[in-house]
């Protein structure tokens, strides 16, 4: 089989994995070597679906001994199969990288023979790139559930990032749709987390020790294939951040590729839901929100019409209006229409003198939304009438970004 055909088969087989980020590692290039890692991550292209392409994301093979219901590569599917050789993948990565097509390699795989055998193949690719090609670019390796701890440790020494997909939001769904147990997924996550903590501590003593997975671990789950609520998903996400110090949790709107009576019948992937979940995730990572503030027992689903930050503000009108010239940064962050950059600008600009609505506009605040929640020098913006209807109308958004997770860390500027 020609290499291009393999690439097309094994790229297509990997495309449903949402995570593509190349952020979180920062590595200087070595003299005479190839590659460096850029802290904020870099997007190199955007595919026809608007998703960013950062890494060469492929499977080592799409042969698989398992038969997960939602997966295009399951053994009962009649699809064209292919397997790379280690050398082919190394050459593709190096040549794509030198042309600046990619930030590095994101390697996952179907399971051949058993978990360890497969994991060893992935490690062999990473090892050859690092040791023989002096490749300093980004490597993300997927951990095959069930792989032994010693192999996971080795993977973390060559990779910037390792990840285990949780795949589905509950144990019940996992049992129903996959042949993976919750145990086989959660255990390596815990191990990786432990390895990272241990490695960072030991490196404090001896700087020479190699970094274990400098960009940490991530996971992803499929949204809309099973009946869990948004509350369940957001709470699970929060637990991943808190318990396993995950760097990112990715959501992937369920795209039906198989007909299987265990799966729901949907014609289009639930992109709007995926988008709302990413907004909720963003609120937890950058805006200081707790899961319980975003989705409650009474309202376990995120709103279709209004983004979760505005929903929270509307539920908490008693905390507003805020005086922009004195309010705490943490509260300013929570005002609809004020993003993180604007909040940073507000607190630095007000040191130079008090701010009025024109200043806020220059700073980049969306006054159409923010006006209902703030005062400047004690006054609301002229002609602001707070009624339920007015606020609701202003909070409704038409977003064109639906379903596009941002892959680079939000860049904060001091200025």
């Amino acid at each position: 089989m020609e290499l291009i055909e393999k690439l097309e088969i094994l790229g297509a087989a990997a495309k449903f994995d949402a995570s593509c980020s190349s952020s979180g590692s920062s590595r200087k290039g070595a003299a005479g070597g190839i590659g460096s890692a850029y802290r904020a991550g870099i997007c190199h292209s955007w595919a026809a679906d608007g998703r960013c392409i950062s890494l060469l994301k492929v499977l080592f093979t799409n042969y698989c001994i398992n038969d997960c219901a939602y997966c295009i590569n399951r053994r009962s599917n009649d699809v064209k199969r292919a397997t790379f050789t280690v050398d082919e993948l190394v050459s593709l990565t190096m040549n794509f990288y030198k042309r600046n097509y990619i930030e590095g390699l994101f390697l996952s795989s179907g399971i051949i023979k058993n978990a360890d055998f497969t994991m060893e193949k992935l490690i062999a690719v990473a090892k050859k790139l690092r040791d023989e090609e002096s490749f300093n670019g980004y490597i993300h390796l997927k951990v095959i559930p069930g792989a032994s701890d010693i192999l996971i440790k080795e993977a973390g020494l060559y990779a910037d990032r390792v990840s285990v997909n949780i795949e589905l939001p509950s144990e019940k769904s996992l049992k129903l749709l996959t042949e993976k147990s919750k145990e086989s997924i959660i255990k390596p996550m815990g191990d990786i987390c432990g390895d990272i903590v241990e490695n960072r501590e030991e490196r404090r003593k001896t700087k020479k020790l190699p970094l274990f997975a400098p960009a940490g671990q991530t996971t992803q789950l499929i949204v809309g294939a099973t009946p869990e609520t948004d509350r369940k998903i957001v709470k699970l996400t929060e637990a991943f951040y808190k318990k396993f110090s995950m760097k990112r949790v990715y959501y992937s709107a369920f795209v039906p590729v198989n007909s299987d009576k265990r799966l729901p019948v949907v014609s289009l992937p639930p992109l709007d839901r995926e988008h709302r979940l990413y907004q909720a995730d963003w609120l937890m990572r950058f805006y200081g929100f707790q899961a319980d503030e975003i989705v409650t027992d009474e309202n376990p689903f995120l709103s279709d019409d209004i983004d979760p930050k505005a929903v929270w503000a509307m539920r908490n009108m008693h905390l507003f209006p805020l005086e922009i010239n004195t309010a705490a940064f943490e509260m300013i962050l929570r005002v609809p229409g004020i993003g993180r950059q604007s909040a940073v600008r507000i607190v630095s600009a007000r040191r130079n003198g008090s701010l009025d609505f024109d200043d806020l506009k220059r700073i980049g605040v969306v006054l159409k939304r923010a006006r209902y929640f703030i005062t400047c020098k004690g006054k609301m913006m002229p002609e602001t009438v707070i009624t339920e209807k007015n606020v609701f109308e202003a909070m409704k958004t038409t977003s064109t970004k639906a379903g596009a997770p941002d892959h680079t860390i939000e860049q904060l500027s001091l200025f």
Partner: protein, 253 residues
């Protein structure tokens, strides 16, 4: 008062030095292309290395490398009156210190910072979408036509990243280029103005394998999109059409 400089950064800094104590409003413009105006009696600034250095040191001591590089970005934006805005910012920084950068109460400062943002946004974008082609002589060659004069701002990134390669990055719009070999970076001296705007890949030919890898990348680019999520508007929002010309996966053929 209008100050005319020679178009170089040193020349601009010399103008800053000379204009600093001017009483009335200052405008700084390039000598080349300046249209004489009625009643305008511009000062022609002489480029003096020592004056430029004094301005640089002064600014570094007040706002550090980070602040100084913000000024360079605004200067390189080549937006309308970029030099005058940069001068205004420099004056404010000398008056208020680093705090001047967050004087959003001041319309001119806000505008200058807007220029800076455009430049740094374009830099970030270009770091991702610049494409190198391996030429027949083994050099990796990247042509591009940025909106802003960002070549000097991006070479460091590739210097570090591709230190094992010989490469050349070429701004075809401005006819300037930087090349790298064996850890040394240099500005390319072109034989003449016309050559400086020529695409070297057409001139020197591509390496034997080049088309194979380009073809594989195009193939990969196509299949990685999820059909049921197709969203060309979103794609163009992230990757504006004006950049497609030099992108392997987007240009024709």
């Amino acid at each position: 008062m209008i100050f005319l400089y020679d178009g170089t950064f040193e020349g601009f800094l010399s103008a800053v030095f000379d204009a600093f104590s001017a009483k009335d409003e200052v405008e700084i413009e390039k000598k080349e292309g300046w249209q004489p105006q009625l009643f305008a009696d511009p000062v022609e600034v002489e480029t003096v290395q020592e004056k430029a250095e004094r301005v640089v040191n002064k600014l570094l001591s007040i706002c550090g490398r980070r602040g100084f590089s913000a000024m360079i970005q605004i200067f390189l934006s080549e937006e309308e009156n970029a030099e005058t805005y940069t001068f205004y910012l420099i004056k404010s920084v000398i008056k208020y210190g680093s705090k001047a950068f967050s004087r959003f109460q001041d319309e001119k400062i806000t505008r200058a910072m807007e220029f800076r943002k455009r430049v740094s946004k374009e830099c970030d974008k270009i770091l991702g979408i610049l494409r190198f082609t391996e030429l027949a002589n083994g050099v990796f060659y990247a042509p591009f036509e940025p909106d802003h004069n960002i070549l000097p701002l991006i070479t460091g990134h590739f210097y570090e990243r591709l230190s094992g390669c010989r490469w050349m990055i070429h701004d075809l719009r401005r006819g300037i280029a930087v090349c790298h070999s064996d850890g040394k970076m240099e500005n390319v001296e072109f034989a003449d103005e016309m050559t400086s705007h020529l695409n070297m890949a057409d001139l020197l030919g591509k390496s034997e394998n080049e088309e194979d890898f380009a073809k594989m990348w195009r193939g990969y680019f196509k299949i990685i999109a999820i059909e049921t999520r197709t969203n060309p508007k979103l794609q163009r929002q992230f990757m504006p059409k004006r950049y497609w010309k030099y992108m392997t996966e987007k240009k024709n053929g």
